[in-house]
């Protein structure tokens, strides 16, 4: 198992680093090649030539693209990402502060959705011919048709406005007041995880139903398992394996969803910053934010790769033998 971890982890890590660099180049180019000159974008078409020149000086936009790129990446490693052009915040610090709520939101949603999806998906699969199984699947299908922003608003209406149980907006750092932080995260996490859970559930269901047709399940039954115990004891792990592949896709959806959810619930996270930066045309901030989001996505992918190897022993030995 050690050899496997060594090989797979380091290989995945290398891949992740390569992807991060490739992604950074794409982000960098995308912001410069599309839509015209950055300075004009940031200040608007009515900007005076003097202000444009000032901006360019301040942000080093006169340098060659290569210089700008290297300077940016160098800054990333140093933790210096520059300042917003409105001068209202230091990009690096701002991002760092906002990481906490976003990470709690996204990781929290991911961690909640997986066990729920497993339980519900298995239940639905075991009962796939009966009404209770089918209705669960229908529910999941409706669930993934609901846009997250709408769900968020509905939750606000029901739980914040009507029932007054939970706050509609606002967030306080865990280090200041964990209880309030928790309260303010309940609705956002529930909103975000619902969509993901619906997708996962359907996937678990399909995967489990496939597994139920496999020979080893027949053996399990022949040994005296009921369908239910066979599904849980034997099927679960095997059906979880293909889930890792879909999990990879969902992570992107999670990050995208966090933009919306943070916006509706007023959570001062990265997603919110991204939105405001886009609206105010803070290209420099957007650049670094996009990279950060990319890194988070890649990190989660790495975790899932590891999980995959952990779940499927056949992979371990293939990798180890290489």
């Amino acid at each position: 198992m050690g050899a496997f971890v060594f090989r797979v982890f380091y290989r995945s890590l290398a891949l992740m680093i390569a992807s991060a660099f490739a992604g950074s180049v794409v982000i960098f180019l995308l912001l410069r090649m599309v839509g015209g000159d950055i300075a004009t974008i940031m200040l608007g078409t009515k900007a005076t030539p003097e202000s444009l020149a000032l901006l360019r000086e301040a942000f080093g936009l006169n340098r060659s693209w290569l210089e700008q790129y290297l300077s940016w990446i160098g800054g990333v490693f140093r933790g210096d990402l520059g300042e917003s052009y409105t001068g209202q915040y230091v990009i690096g610090t701002e991002i760092a502060q906002r990481l906490e709520p976003t990470l709690i939101l996204t990781f929290g949603s991911l961690l909640i959705s997986i066990p729920i999806a497993l339980m519900v998906g298995v239940y639905s699969a075991i009962n796939f011919k009966r009404w209770r199984g089918v209705s669960v699947d229908v529910l999941a299908q409706v669930g993934l048709a609901i846009p997250q922003f709408f769900l968020a608003l509905v939750f606000v209406i029901v739980f914040a406005v009507r029932l007054g149980w939970l706050p509609a907006t606002g967030y306080v750092s865990v280090s200041i007041d964990p209880l309030v932080a928790f309260q303010s995260m309940v609705l956002p996490i529930t909103t975000l995880s619902l969509g993901i859970t619906a997708v996962f559930t359907r996937f678990v269901r399909t995967s489990m139903i496939e597994q139920m047709n496999e020979d080893y399940m027949r053996t399990a039954k022949a040994k005296g398992h009921t369908v239910r115990s066979a599904a849980i004891v034997h099927g679960l792990r095997n059906s979880a394996i293909p889930i890792t592949t879909t999990g990879v896709l969902q992570i992107g959806a999670l990050m995208a969803g966090s933009v919306v959810v943070e916006n509706v619930f007023g959570i001062p996270g990265i997603g919110r910053l991204l939105l405001t930066s886009v609206m105010t045309r803070e290209a420099i901030t957007v650049q670094s934010l996009a990279l950060v989001i990319l890194l988070i996505i890649l990190a989660m992918n790495l975790l899932i790769d590891l999980l995959y190897g952990f779940l499927d022993p056949r992979i371990r030995h293939k990798e180890g033998r290489k």
Binding site: L31, V142, I157, I209, A256
Partner: protein
């Protein structure tokens, strides 16, 4: 040589409630959109401050918005935007994606694998983030949205196409056809295309549903269609501050979006059962 590899053994449609409901609902939505070009219950842009925020009634089925405009009419017109954006993106995505997938499949096993890998990366990047980055430079608006959604649709389609296309191309009769002097292109069109058509159709329907969701989300964030173009997302964005006073303002349009997305998803599921029974037998109710 008219050989059809896939056995289009169509299941009786009755076995698939999804298909029926899907067709009905999508038909309804499309009908509403079409009608909206010619007629809406009220003039969607007619502002009448006296009538602002009326709850649903007989004359205003969905009530009125914060400027007194009839909500139902707004939604009807908004569907034009949604369908336009999604349709264009889907077309681009499917055409490009299928072409890429076929090209890769026809160029040998290595290219197929490379395309799949690249597609995997492309699929993992959410459209919303791309749209946001684009909106920074291009500005918000339908162009950014279309580019962003297409950008995602292309690898999704390509990935779905590459596998089966490769499978079909590796069959013996294809080699036989080639020795008879048929060009690759010919084979691709006559043989491969008809056989992957069902998969692509099902995938298109699903993507369409996803596209609607993405467009609505982007419009909600303010990055999609800009006023004066009406969009569902914008309606919901306007409703947000009024969530306490006028919950119907959020609930009704939102439910409409949900039903539309559901409609296309069900259609896709139903088509899957109809056209691709082997795939769909894996537990579709």
């Amino acid at each position: 040589m008219k050989k059809s590899i896939r056995n289009f053994r169509t299941q009786p449609a009755i076995k698939s409630p999804q298909l029926i409901v899907g067709i009905i609902l999508t038909g309804l939505v499309l009908a509403i959109t079409l009608v909206s070009f010619f007629w809406t219950p009220w003039d969607p842009i007619a502002i009448d401050v006296e009538k602002r925020l009326l709850t649903p009634s007989f004359s205003h089925w969905f009530g009125t918005d914060r400027l007194g405009r009839d909500l139902l009419s707004q939604i009807m017109v908004g569907s034009q935007n949604t369908l336009y954006v999604t349709l264009v993106s889907t077309l681009i995505g499917v055409v490009l994606g299928t072409s890429l997938g076929l090209a890769a499949a026809g160029s040998g096993p290595r290219w197929g694998g490379i395309l799949t890998r690249i597609s995997d990366i492309g699929i993992a990047i959410p459209s919303i983030l791309i749209a946001l980055v684009l909106a920074t430079t291009l500005g918000p608006g339908r162009l950014s949205v279309i580019i962003a959604i297409s950008f995602w649709f292309v690898p999704v389609t390509a990935r779905v196409v590459v596998g089966p296309a490769r499978q079909i191309l590796s069959l013996d009769f294809v080699e036989a056809a080639m020795t008879h002097g048929r060009t690759r292109m010919y084979i691709v069109f006559r043989q491969v295309l008809p056989n992957i058509a069902p998969i692509v159709i099902v995938q298109t329907s699903m993507m369409f549903a996803a596209g609607i969701l993405i467009e609505a989300s982007l419009s909600f964030l303010g990055v999609g269609a800009q006023p004066p173009t009406t969009s569902w997302g914008k309606i919901l964005m306007d409703s947000q501050p009024l969530v306490q006073e006028a919950p119907y303002y959020t609930l009704l349009p939102g439910s409409f979006v949900v039903i539309t997305v559901l409609a296309f998803n069900l259609l896709g599921d139903g088509l899957a059962v109809l056209l691709d029974p082997q795939q769909s037998q894996k537990g579709v109710a």
